[in-house]
Amino acid sequence: MELFLQQVIAGIATGGIYACMALAVVMIYQAIHHLNFAQGEMATFSTFIAWTLLAYGLPYLAVFPLAIAISFVGGFAVERIVFKPIEHAPVLTHIVVFIALYSIFNSAMGFIWDFSIKTVPSPFPPGQFFGSNLISNHQAGMVGITFVVLVLLFMFFAYTRIGLAMRAAAANPDSARLVGIRTSFMTALGWGMASAIGAVAGILIAPLVFLEPNMMLTILLYGFAGAVLGGLTSPPGAVLGGFIVGVVENLAGTYIPVIGGELKLTIALALIVGVLVFKPAGLLGRRIVQRV
């Protein structure tokens, strides 16, 4: 039993990473009803920017918001430049452009910062959380920050005018446009926010793994799994899903011999396919009913 509890706690600790990424995935999905396959690379790019700023000697407390702001502007710009022209294009076009962005960001990072691994410092004091041997200060801090982001998002969407406008634009673009909401601007804003959340995720994940251009590809897969599990339409669901994925991954690693260490990505694959097939709305998502 103790082993079980330990693994659950350790799973929650890694789940924080996935929750953060899943949140970014859901943000984009809310805004454009697409999954951004380049999200991981964009987050890694943000992390590299933070790393560069840190290398210039700026304090962490300045770098963190600065990198997030840059990412916000970057995400906004990507939408305006690349996606605005293909707003009404079919799904395949979007997927191809996402893949193109993935390729561009990945390659550009290798070009600018090369493929050698780099370490990113943690903002939290080193050591274990309250002396526990399962969860480090950084991991606990990460879980905390994920919740802060979630609460901020909730307040933004629930209590601000622009948050309401964004929800309207996502839920019913035609009617939203009729009442004077600039839906296309809202989409760009959604991109900016998703990119900013991705930056938070990347910067917090980097101290746990090593920073290199391919850092996020597998983490993005877990992020997708978390988002799908929790429900692509629900930010709290995404966070919950992220934590569940972390726990499931850890438990499977402990209790199922072969799968454990070697097939971790296959767990994500199985989760994604399984949830999409049997419960497409996820745990907390809305069921989408399409009129024919």
Partner: protein
Amino acid sequence: MATTDDASLAKRASLPASVDVAEPRTPLLSIGNAGLALTLAALLALPFFTEGFFVFQMTKVLTYAVAIMGLNLLTGFNGQFSLGHGAFFAVGAYTTAILVEMAGFGFIATLPFAALICFGFGFLFGFPALRLEGIYLALATFALAVATPQILKLSPLEGLTGGVQGIYLFSETFGEPPVPSWAPVQSIFGVDEFDAGTYWVYLVTVAVLVLTYWILTNLVGSRTGRAMMAIRDNPIAARSMGVNAAFYKTIAFGVSAAVVGVAGGIGAASTKFVAPDSFTFFVSVSFLVGLVVGGVGWLPGALIGGAFIVFVPNYAEEVSKGLSGAFFGIFLILMIYLAPNGVGGLIRAAADRIRRRSE
């Protein structure tokens, strides 16, 4: 709300059906057929004029072309997306490698097995795919592609797959694919016995390419192909016409995977080596790039797509090291904006113009 209608219209516009169902049978002597015959002649003549390394690269081009045709059947003609066909490429490659190394098969004899096994996997993956549309299918296949290298490294399979190390093929013939005694490759092309294997694999690849093209064009023109396209264009109408959507969609997935598997088999024979890390997500990305560049829904475009994904990174690397991915991406985006039907679309537009002028 007219969103559904808009969506289906946009979907239809996205996937140009080059093979028009209503069009009468093209005469034997048409621009299209002349182009195909010229291409085939050029492919057959090529090894007489070039060096071994270029022949090897062309084998790669043709291998990719076969794979892209397979993906095209699924995406271009059946409207299903896949970011995971690299996984079937891997299964095909490993099938060939394992049969050649452990069962002593000739590599050509392994290709039907690669096709069969991949058909099985594709068919099985086609079932969950039935319930996933558009972006969700892309997501599920994306997960498959990312997980593939890890599955190949799995330790219980190590005896078969060689684990991280992978498998070197043709260890009995000193690492070169054996040339059958009835094929006078050495004397025809005037090459030594080491290069003969490369040339032989090239010739086999040309044959596989032609065969695949022949099978797929006939499939697309058949009742099955029309059903696949009907499902792509309007699933609801197709269903109400009595088309068994589930059956044709899983079949499309299976056949598409089988073709990609055969490509994987030839790929293994030409590189003479398979390892998990050769089958990363980037393989699937390459297929998609080749498909879009060549033209979605136009089978001959696969050759252009294959050439693009083999040669362009080389040139891009020469211009600036490490930037080939960025070049890929920028080219893709430009392509989507400027020539959404791919190079194939441009060629067909030009051919139409010539045809109209000559009439």
